[in-house]
Amino acid sequence: MVEIDDKIYIQQVLDGKTSSFTCLVDKYKDMVFTVCYRILRQREDAEDAAQVSFIKAFNNLHAFKGGSKYSTWLYTIAYRTAISRSQIKKVDTVNEDFHIDIATDNSFPQLEALKSQEQEFYVKKAIEELPEIDGAIISLFYLDESSIQEIVEITGLSESNVKVKLHRARKQLKVNLEGLLHQETKSII
């Protein structure tokens, strides 16, 4: 059903009804932004990369043949846009004494005692502590529920590489979020 909606909007855009693109933007903007943010780690850069990704998608919409899901095609554009920007950024800042200070305190307190907002802060911090690509893969896998095969298509990495990165990221998240996960696990069991 979701895919049928996308196809309808895509056809409308290709027929010249540009306003239909709004529906596609609204539907995927948060995930596109999340993928860009996981790579770039800065809100302004990520939002800019997300905008560029949507413009690229719009300009090349006629090239989308529907062989994969529209979301997979779109996230591929977003991922590659963000990666190329991060490489430019790395070259620009290679000699600068620059680092992103996520939080001054690196410890993860017992998360079960925290309020929802604080939990959110520590979950985001835990994801940001992962390497950039691992963070993007984790987001695609858990937030978008993309399959391994789709992640392979988006990132261009091999299947075994994606599985290793996913396993490693999952393990690190489980360690960092132990308290919160323990509480959640108890509620599930």
């Binding site: 540009t18 933007v25 719009f58 939990q119 979950v123 987001s139 858990y142 998240l173 696990t185 069991i189």
Partner: protein
């Protein structure tokens, strides 16, 4: 002796409860579900509220509508026509055994015969010329198609 050792070792092993495996698997599944729940609850990021507005303002006046243009433009067709006419003139000039005694009208009458005979009795020069014409047309068409695809 060997059997006796095995029996002793067997007695040393403790047996798990019958639902041990399912308990372990439930625990593992619950951990995975917990991670999934926590990440989907707190891991999502949101764009700024005016993201869509900003984006659509950039796309204002643009259209993703595909406007098909012919692979061979009018100028190209005119070029091809000129080449074909040139070929015919060449055939007219060299392909027939013309001499001054023949009038122009006679030559025109023989033109259709000459075009036919071009494929059967044409000289090597004519064949090369014809192959060059076909090759140049194919080259132009391929270049135009690949240029369009790259855009």
């Amino acid at each position: 002796m060997e059997k006796k050792d095995k029996d002793i070792l067997k007695k040393g092993l403790e047996e798990t409860s019958f639902d041990f495996t399912s308990k372990v698997m439930n625990q593992l599944n619950a951990e995975e579900t917990a991670l999934s729940n926590v990440l989907s609850k707190h891991g999502a990021l949101e764009t700024s509220p005016d993201f869509t507005l900003q984006l659509m303002s950039q796309l204002e006046g643009k259209s993703a509508k595909v406007e098909y243009t012919p692979v061979i433009s009018k100028t190209m067709w005119m070029g091809i026509a000129a080449m074909v006419i040139g070929m015919v003139v060449l055939i007219f000039a060299f392909g027939t055994e013309s001499n001054s005694e023949y009038a122009v009208g006679e030559n025109l009458k023989n033109l259709s015969t000459s075009v036919g005979s071009f494929f059967t009795q044409g000289s090597t020069f004519m064949y090369i010329l014809f192959a060059a014409l076909i090759f140049s047309i194919a080259l132009v068409v391929e270049q135009r198609v690949s240029h369009k695809e790259s855009n």
